[in-house]
């Protein structure tokens, strides 16, 4: 009997391609023969746009890359610009600590959305809503800090846009302390669940060697037994002052990635609590008048302050000619910013290395020969965000 394969067009409008990913699947019955991801449906030209903006004006663009983890994107960018300017050492202690706290909150937030959608894809609908309930609390914290719920735009070159509002430290502490209990709830619904184990163990396997070859990073890499975390191995901000572990597993399957991310949320909570204890009053902007805006009080009261503010807002600042690459451990993996300066107030070129883009490369290899249902699980476990893939 002659049989032929069926080509199925999954996405860009499909409930579980996490946005606008398109997969051309070649199916033999329910078994995937070949998967070709097509991307670009969400391309907004972030990199090109930034060439016509001052360095400060680029920060809001980065919010919209990985829209589930805006603060991490901000952080990577401001760190790159600070390194380009050579003011990394001048960032005040308080600003650094708040950056770390917010980056880790963002990690929890991003992982919550990952767990929610991953579980929903596999059919566990309740976990989805539990995760979104907790995410809502983080979004509230975001709102109190920056006024925006998703596109926070909170970090600035040289520090932060403003200090934490009153009482927020207690909010963050309360939320972080409740996180362990919430994680146990999720684990209670999933980890021991036979169906969940059947759907995730040995699904979407990738070996540590292949993972390194493809360039995987973040939890996807650490679940394949490669112990690599930029927060520990190439510390930025003041991560070296914090005491935390890097969870790793060796199985390299979907269940391992699930466990790694859950453990990461626990470690993030640990880091946040340490950070809150570390917080001391102090400045939140570096003492670099040519880069940072003057305090509001000077702007409204003195003519020098007003001119200073005007110059920075209209002209921006001019880093010296040069190029720089800074990578940070974003929730989804290594997020890198490569900046080239020609001495003008605009970046000559900004290249972003989005973790999702690189991680997605592993998909065709991971889904070859598996069932259709596993494709969904694998997309979920890679934790991709199309905003950052298409940029």
């Amino acid at each position: 009997m002659a049989t032929e394969t069926m080509t199925i067009n999954m996405g860009p409008q499909h409930p579980s391609t996490h946005g606008v990913l398109q997969l051309i699947l070649e199916l033999d019955g329910e078994i995937v023969v070949k998967a070709t991801p097509h991307i670009g449906f969400l391309h907004r030209g972030t990199e090109k746009l930034s060439e016509h903006r001052t360095y400060h004006q680029v920060i809001p663009l980065t919010d919209r890359l990985d829209y589930l983890a805006p603060m991490s994107n901000n952080l990577g960018y401001v760190l790159a610009v600070e390194k380009l300017l050579g003011i990394t050492d001048k960032i005040p202690e308080r600003a650094n600590t708040i950056r770390v706290i917010m980056a880790e909150l963002t990690r929890i937030k991003s992982h919550l959305v990952w767990l929610a959608t991953h579980a929903l894809d596999i059919g566990a609908m309740t976990v989805f809503l539990y995760c979104f309930r907790e995410r809502e609390e983080i979004i509230d914290i975001y709102e109190k800090i920056s006024g925006a719920r998703m596109t926070s735009n909170y970090f600035r070159v040289g520090g932060l846009s403003e200090d934490l509002p009153e009482g927020l430290v207690d909010d963050i502490r309360k939320f972080t302390e409740s996180m362990e209990g919430h994680l146990e709830t999720y684990e209670g619904l999933l980890t021991g669940n036979k169906i969940w184990q059947k759907r995730t163990i040995d699904v979407g396997y990738i070996s540590g060697e292949d993972a390194v070859d493809i360039g995987l990073s973040g939890p996807a890499l650490r679940a394949s037994g490669v112990d690599w975390d930029l927060r520990r191995d190439d510390p930025y901000c003041n991560y070296s002052d914090f005491d935390f572990e890097v969870p790793t597993r060796t199985e390299g399957d979907t269940f391992a990635r699930y466990k790694v991310r859950l453990d990461e949320m626990r470690q993030s909570a640990r880091i946040i609590l340490q950070g809150l204890d570390k917080l001391k009053p102090g400045p939140i902007l570096a003492d670099c008048p040519q880069v940072c805006l003057p305090p509001k009080k000077d702007v409204v009261n003195t003519i020098e302050g007003l001119i200073h503010h005007f110059k920075i807002v209209t002209e921006g600042f001019k880093p010296e000619e040069g190029e720089i690459y800074v990578g940070i451990e974003a929730p989804k993996g290594e997020l890198g910013y490569y900046l080239v300066s020609d001495g003008s107030p605009h970046p000559y070129r900004m290249k972003i290395r989005p973790p999702s883009f690189v991680n997605l490369q592993a998909l065709p290899q991971m889904v070859e020969g598996v069932l259709l249902a596993d494709v969904i699980a694998t997309i979920g476990t890679l934790d991709i965000v199309l905003g950052e893939i298409d940029r």
Partner: protein, 354 residues
């Protein structure tokens, strides 16, 4: 004077009136439960998932099923150009009809007694007491598969096709396990009539008279394994989570009903819930003594049916979905051998005790 059972031969006009009344009541109650099962499901799952469920339409959202019905009724009815029209239209009817017909053989209460012109009649609260009732139900459940497979094939869409294929494989395998599991019941009851099976369960539990008088020898006590197999098997047969692979919305968009809209889609929706009610009623009759219990017959029956439906809803809020091959594996390698083993065990037990 002993009451006579009302039948076509002793009082034809009365019998016809009683029959019509029974059909009307059973049908409208069933459709009412179907409509409000959607409301209950949304409310209950909402509570389990820290949501509220429908609240805006009427008090506590009670008018939501009606609003949904009206909305679907007024939607444009789209038949895809490439679809096979006749089969496409036929499929939703073919899936709803068997689900409703099965209710015809289920006894939902004790016989009702009344006096007319000096003669006392007994009306069995069951539309028809087929002596092959259980076989009839299995046959109807088998027909339901055709509706889904037809919908999948007729839509001429790839997702629907995959849904249809999944449905045919899944329903056939699980029907087998569910069907075999109730053979053990026939061995104990020695009848295929559902009212006979209910009557057979009205013995003192394990022959002990010390239990409360309503605690009867329901088959769940003597056949717990068959009960489990039947409930799981029938859950798979009616495509409830975790066996909702044919429509798995995160994989196949909406599976076999992807291309359906308007009332045709509503028919699928109604069929899903009608099937749920039917399966609950059958499980209650076969394993929980039907209308037997401490309250008046119909109330016992409804309590059991609602209990099962709550259980199905609860399961949906708790479990992820199985994968196609794992589903098949479970059906053929776990449930089928268990069902056959249970038959053998029951046969030996019946031989030894008699």
């Amino acid at each position: 004077m002993t009451p006579e059972v009302l039948s076509l031969s002793n009082a034809p006009a009365l019998w016809a009136a009683a029959m019509l009344a029974k059909i009307l009541v059973a049908f409208s109650v069933l459709m009412g439960i179907v409509a409000y099962a959607t409301w209950v499901e949304r409310k209950v799952i909402g509570r389990m998932q820290t949501r509220l469920g429908p609240t805006m339409t009427g008090p506590k959202g009670l008018l939501q099923p009606i609003a949904d019905g009206i909305k679907l009724f007024f939607k444009e009815d789209i038949i895809p150009n490439e679809a096979s029209k006749f089969a496409f239209v036929l499929a939703p009817m073919m899936i709803l009809a068997p689900a409703l017909i099965s209710m015809a053989v289920i006894p939902f209460g004790n016989a009702y007694e009344f006096t007319f012109q000096g003669v006392t009649y007994l009306v069995p609260l069951q539309i028809t007491d087929l002596n092959i009732g259980v076989l009839f139900i299995m046959a109807m459940a088998g027909l339901g598969v055709y509706g889904i497979v037809l919908a999948g094939l007729a839509s001429n869409s790839k997702y629907s096709l995959l849904g249809g294929i999944r449905a045919s494989a899944q329903m056939i395998s699980y029907e087998l396990a569910a069907g075999l599991s109730i053979i053990a019941i026939f061995m104990l009851s020695e009848t295929l009539s559902l009212s006979g099976i209910v009557a057979a369960q009205q013995q003192p539990l394990w022959g002990i008279t010390a239990f409360p008088s309503w605690m009867h020898n329901w088959y769940i006590f003597s056949q717990p394994l068959a009960f489990g197999l039947f409930v799981v098997g029938s859950m798979a047969e009616i495509n409830r989570t975790p066996f909702d692979l044919p429509e798995a919305e995160t994989e196949l968009v909406s599976g076999f009903c992807t291309e359906y809209s308007s009332m045709k889609y509503a028919l699928f929706f109604m069929a899903e819930y009608a099937n749920m009610v039917t399966i609950s009623a059958i499980s209650a009759t076969l394993f929980l003594g039907g209308w037997d219990g401490p309250f008046p017959g119909v109330i016992n029956f409804l309590i059991k049916v609602f209990g099962f439906m709550f259980f199905f809803i609860w399961i949906r809020a708790t479990f992820p979905r199985l994968r196609y091959d794992q589903l098949m594996q479970m059906g053929w390698k776990v449930m089928l051998p268990l069902a056959i083993g249970n038959i053998v065990l029951t046969a030996v037990a019946v031989l030894l005790w008699q």
